[in-house]
């Protein structure tokens, strides 16, 4: 029996040594250690031995079995490694070929800028308000302190439609509609489409604005300056210089034009800023008492500011677009870049 065992052991080790594939090694395992394997058969023969011999031979069989197992295991592992190594050696793809991409869509730059500005103001506590584009003269002009026949109306060339209505020339009527609906405090911004009958390289008959309005007790011009500084710094970068200078709008007083340091040249002077170092980006001011009168607010108890800016202008500055018409030509070669 010992001899038999020795023979079996040598045979197995030799077979393992000569086997070259994982499959051959598996076969050896089955033929040796499987249910019908030789070693298993040998184990079964232990019963015929004497009680004294049984544990000794049993021990011996187990030793042989462990040895074969361990050699076999190592051989299989090494064969598997070789297989993997061979695969890794042989399998190659050309990774320079383009990937299979899900198609990318793009938002219109006007939408992008509106979303960005709305989200900045949302962070400053402003809710979004909207209003009709086809408006009554009263909301678009009169309630905003543009009396009929006033030269200030020349600042805005108006498209008229039937029934004494017009296409709003600015988003400011949303101020009026909001204040008529709601008592102070008010904090809104109103993005929207506006129209003026004017068309050339720098004017489009349709464009977009965002209006802002904040009315509360003791709101100051300094607060307006504060909010707009935070806003422009978030939109154009932390160190963007901001300058307010006196201007005129019928519905605000004091009024201001707000300039930022030129984002193209950094304030040194270039073609875009006409060598002034400044870019005009929005109009603002303290809401005129005449406007409060139209919405039944009492200017003795509340105060507030309003501001408005052109989206296209900001989009052009942000993305370095020189011709406004590109924004409405809808050429996908342009739009897909956003």
């Amino acid at each position: 029996m010992r001899e038999q065992l020795e023979q079996l052991r040598n045979g197995a080790l030799q077979a393992i040594a000569t086997a070259s594939t994982v499959e051959q090694l598996q076969d050896i395992r089955i033929s040796m250690l499987g249910r019908k394997g030789e070693l298993t058969a040998l184990m079964k023969g232990l019963g015929s031995l004497s009680a004294a011999e049984r544990p000794i031979v049993g021990q011996l069989v187990n030793t042989v079995r462990d040895e074969i197992e361990s050699v076999l295991g190592a051989a299989i592992a090494s064969a598997q490694e070789k297989v993997i190594a061979a695969r890794l050696q042989s399998e190659r793809i050309d990774t320079s070929l383009p990937g299979r991409r899900p198609q990318k869509g793009t938002k219109h730059p006007v939408s992008l800028v509106i979303e960005e500005i709305c989200s900045i103001f949302a962070g400053l506590g402003f809710a979004v308000a909207e209003g009709p584009e086809i408006e009554h003269d009263w909301y678009n002009f009169e309630a905003l302190n543009f009396p009929p026949e006033h030269p200030a109306r020349d600042m805005q060339d108006t498209f008229f439609v039937e029934n004494d209505m017009l296409l709003r020339t600015h988003t400011s009527p949303v101020q009026i509609r909001t204040m008529l609906k709601q008592k102070p405090p008010v904090r809104i911004i109103a993005p929207g489409t506006v129209y003026r009958c004017d068309s050339d390289a720098t004017h489009s008959p349709m464009f977009h604005q965002i209006e802002g309005l904040m009315v509360d007790t003791k709101v100051t011009f300094g607060d307006l300056k504060g909010i707009l500084t935070v806003f422009t710094n978030q939109l154009f970068g932390q160190k963007t210089g901001v300058r307010l200078r006196p201007s005129y709008f019928p519905f605000t007083e004091p009024s201001a034009e707000v300039d930022i340091a030129c984002v193209i040249c950094g304030g040194k002077g270039c073609r875009v800023c006409k060598n002034s170092g400044w870019l005009e980006i929005l109009g603002a001011g303290m809401v005129d008492p005449e406007v409060y009168r139209h919405v039944q607010y009492d200017p003795e108890n509340i105060s507030g500011f309003a501001f408005g800016m052109g989206i296209e202008r900001i989009a052009m500055l942000k993305y370095g677009i020189s011709d406004m018409r590109l924004l409405f030509e809808n050429d996908v070669r342009f739009l897909r870049q956003f």
């Binding site: 939408s111 506590g125 584009e133 607060d223 006196p246 007083e253 303290m286 070669r333």
Partner: protein, 802 residues
């Protein structure tokens, strides 16, 4: 408004450089839109003396000059003949850059060295044409002086963009006044001394103002015996500098004084005024008038005219008449200075499309108090430059004598609103510098009477703005107010809009934005029925062009035009969408409706050309798939696809309407070949439309989320033959009708026509996935359920199971 640095300096003695002044003006609200420095960069062009002039050895027409520039004596070759030895000339030295970017370099001309160039007026940009070089008066300035300095031409021209409220700054004086107020300097008013002759003005002319409302003040003076001649050089130069063309001495003076004071003036040829009378009245309806521009215009009773005994001689405040214009032979002049009602002048000027320097000022409001001053100043100047005698007295019809109301002003209110802390004294000082009359009141407020020329100062808030402006916006600290408001969440409408836009973009679609107005024939191009509500569009009363004359009722025309345009640029694989408002007239007096709509168009290949996938064209189901995704994300239930009565712009066999319950919420389809042709599109386009407002209404705000089953699934396939006209959706519906909780998913995975399938039939293969939430389904359970489903299909839909 154009002003020059030197001119401003005549009225106020500031130290600021032109650049500093530009900054100061801009920060005062008088925005300098552009500035031009005359003679800038021309410091190397200097006064020089020709010490010697000799013939060029190699050229007949050239001479060689020895020119003294104050430091050196240089050789300069010159081609001009109009000067001689000893003349004072203009030398552009090496390094100078003349207008037109002409750089002066050392050069050799016909073998002789030339160290500079003798310049003509044209070369200096001082004249359009010139014969020969510029020869200066001998002692104009020391040799070596820059020529622009020597000629007194060194100046800076500012173009100021005035806001409509600042009519007081439509004059050099007005702007100087603001500078003086800001810098706390004294304004120097121009002096004039009236010397009158014996003849009394009333004996020459009588003036009647019939409409004192439209003409609150009318003043006039009479000058006889003048000589009309070209203006002296200083006057021509001054007017040219601000882009005013010189006409003759008298007309130039009226223009000069208008620019100086802001008061428009008009000079009539008195000889041509009939009846020695002036009548200020409104025109008769239909009355005709030929203005100085030689155009005849028909007037209405809203227009104010200045008439002689017979006819209008001027359109008040707008333009003089051809019939009384100053001519070369004119000797007697009636000089008019008046105040006309701004709104009336504006109406006339607008209606006639006649905008002049004069109407521009009158319609914004001039200084009613300055009417006489400007008249006297102009009259003096006319006598000085054109000779003649000023008649005694001045006609001045000013019945109203409008005194200004005092404004009660609270300094603390100004501080509070602006967010600054100025003392009462400083505030009073600012107002005083603005030439307001300020008297303190017992209650701490002050009573303020603004000057006449500041017609924009009427209320306390107007004065508050002046305090902020003069003190400087830059001195206002930027603060953050404490938010009392907690802003509302975005509305469902706003949230949904963003969600859908994001979704479409994430599905590879490119957003476009078209103009809201379109061509009136757009509806016709879509083959809409005559009674389609989309044919009733809101019209613009004053469109820029016919193609933009009605408000769109559908986004499709814009989308299809964009598609065609992009295809023309060979962008053939397109996935476009637009999400914008359309416009419908309101009912009766109601507001128009402006619902938000969504349209999409896809065309070309599905995945673009590539190495790894077959290049397949998109079809109806790509468009439908996008709609399905949107409806799925918004969790809109009860969706059905109705093939009957689809939109007229679709292929009737390849389109459907989309319903949610009973509401139509949109449509999908292949573009009708005729519509495709109408929009000049070369290839099939698949479109969808969604009514966004309905999507918002129907979208279920709260989705119910279920935990997934933890038990294994089991799938069964059914392949069946069905008649062509049976919609595949009916099969799925029939299976779903079993309402078993164990049916997890039903999927059509194959549709086949061809070999083995009889004509008029299609083969459909469906995979049903069964799974229970409670247990592992036994083979028998599945078989029994599945058999029931198959039996139903055979029974109800008469399918043939293959």
């Amino acid at each position: 408004m154009i002003v020059t640095y030197n001119w401003l300096k005549e009225f106020v003695d500031f130290d600021e450089t032109p650049d500093e002044l530009a900054e100061l003006l801009t920060m005062l609200g008088l925005e300098v839109e552009s500035m031009a420095k005359l003679g800038a960069g021309l410091d190397d062009v200097v006064v020089a003396l020709v010490e010697e002039k000799r013939q060029h050895p190699n050229a007949d027409k050239l001479s060689i000059c020895r020119v003294n520039n104050g430091k050196d004596v240089l050789d300069v070759v010159c081609g001009a003949q109009n000067f001689k030895q000893g003349d004072t000339v203009v030398l552009a030295q090496i390094g100078a850059v003349l207008p037109g970017d002409f750089k002066i370099k050392k050069s050799k001309i016909r073998g002789e060295e030339s160290c500079g160039m003798l310049c003509s007026e044209k070369e200096l940009g001082l004249a359009d044409e010139s014969a020969g070089i510029m020869v200066l008066p001998p002692s104009i300035a020391p040799i070596g002086t820059p020529v622009f300095t020597a000629l007194g031409l060194k100046d800076t021209i500012f173009e100021i963009g005035l806001t409509p409220n600042r009519s007081d700054c439509l004059s050099v004086m007005g702007i100087a006044r603001d500078i003086a107020a800001k810098l706390n300097l004294k304004l120097k008013y121009p002096q004039c001394t009236i010397v009158e002759g014996p003849e009394k003005v009333e004996s020459v002319i009588s003036v009647t103002v019939e409409d004192a409302d439209l003409c609150p003040r009318y003043a006039a003076r009479y000058i006889s015996g003048c000589t009309i001649a070209p203006s002296p050089e200083w006057l021509v130069k001054r007017l040219n500098a601000i882009d005013v063309r010189s006409i003759n001495n008298v007309v130039d003076i009226t223009n000069l004084i208008m620019m100086e004071s802001g008061q428009p003036l008009h000079a009539f040829d008195c000889r041509r005024l009939s009846g020695q009378r002036i009548i200020v009245r409104t025109a008769e309806d239909g009355e005709q008038f030929t203005a100085l521009d030689n155009q005849q215009r028909v007037l209405t009773s809203a227009d104010l005219v200045i008439c002689d005994a017979e006819r209008p001689v001027a359109l008040a405040g707008v333009m003089g008449g051809l019939n009384s214009e100053i001519e070369n032979t004119t000797t007697a002049i009636l000089l008019e200075s008046a105040f006309f009602k701004p709104a009336a002048i504006r109406k006339t000027s607008k209606r006639l499309g006649l905008h002049t320097e004069s109407s521009h000022r009158f319609e914004r409001g001039i200084d009613i108090d300055g009417v006489g001053r400007a008249l006297d100043r102009a009259a003096c100047l006319i006598v000085e430059l054109a000779g003649g005698v000023l008649a005694q007295g001045c006609i001045d019809i000013f019945p109203g004598k409008c005194d200004r109301k005092a404004i009660t002003f609270r300094p603390e209110k100004a501080n509070e609103l602006i967010g600054i802390d100025l003392s009462r004294d400083i505030i009073i000082d600012i107002l005083t510098r603005l030439e307001c009359l300020v008297s303190p009141c017992a209650d701490g407020s002050v009573s303020v009477i603004p000057p006449h020329y500041r017609i924009d100062l009427e209320r306390e808030i107007d004065l508050i703005e002046e305090i902020a402006r003069l003190n400087g916006y830059d001195k206002i600290p930027a603060t953050m107010s404490i938010a009392r408001v907690i802003s509302d969440r975005p509305t469902r409408h706003q949230e949904t809009e963003k969600r859908v836009r994001d979704l479409l973009v994430n599905n590879g679609m490119t957003e476009i934005i078209n103009f809201s107005f379109t061509a009136p024939e757009a509806a016709g191009k879509l083959l809409l029925n005559d009674d389609d509500p989309r044919r009733i569009a809101i019209k613009l009363a004053n469109p820029l062009v016919d193609e933009q004359s009605v408000m769109r009722t559908t986004l499709l025309p814009g989308l299809l035009e964009t598609t065609a345009k992009n295809m023309n640029f060979r962008s053939l694989d397109l996935k476009l969408f637009e999400m914008r408002r359309v416009y419908f007239p309101g009912d009766g007096e109601g507001m128009p409706r402006e619902p938000l709509c969504i349209v999409g168009a896809i065309t070309g290949s599905r995945d673009g050309d590539g190495w790894s996938r077959p290049n397949e064209p998109v079809d109806f189901f790509d468009a439908k798939g996008i709609v399905e995704t949107v409806l799925d994300v918004l969790d809109i239930g009860g969706v059905s696809w109705v093939v009957e009565n689809t939109e007229p712009y679709y292929h009737p066999g390849k389109s459907c309407r989309v319903f949610a319950g009973r509401e139509q919420i949109g449509s999908v389809g292949e573009l009708h070949p005729l519509v495709q042709k109408n929009f000049e599109i070369e290839k099939p386009v698949f479109c969808f439309e969604l009514n966004f407002e309905k999507l918002v209404q129907l979208s279920r705000a709260k989705k119910t989320i279920m935990a997934p089953s933890r038990f294994p699934d089991s799938s069964r396939d059914i392949a069946m033959l069905i008649p062509e006209e049976l919609a595949a959706a009916k099969i799925v519906e029939c299976i779903r009708a079993e309402k078993s909780k164990e049916i997890e998913n039903v999927q059509i995975f194959d549709v086949y026509r061809g070999k083995g399938v009889p004509e008029g039939y299609k083969s459909i293969a469906v995979r049903i996935r069964y799974r229970s939430f409670e247990r592992t389904l036994a083979e028998e359970d599945i078989a029994s359920l599945h058999n029931k489903i198959v039996a139903n299909l055979i029974d109800k839909l008469k399918v043939t199971v293959r």
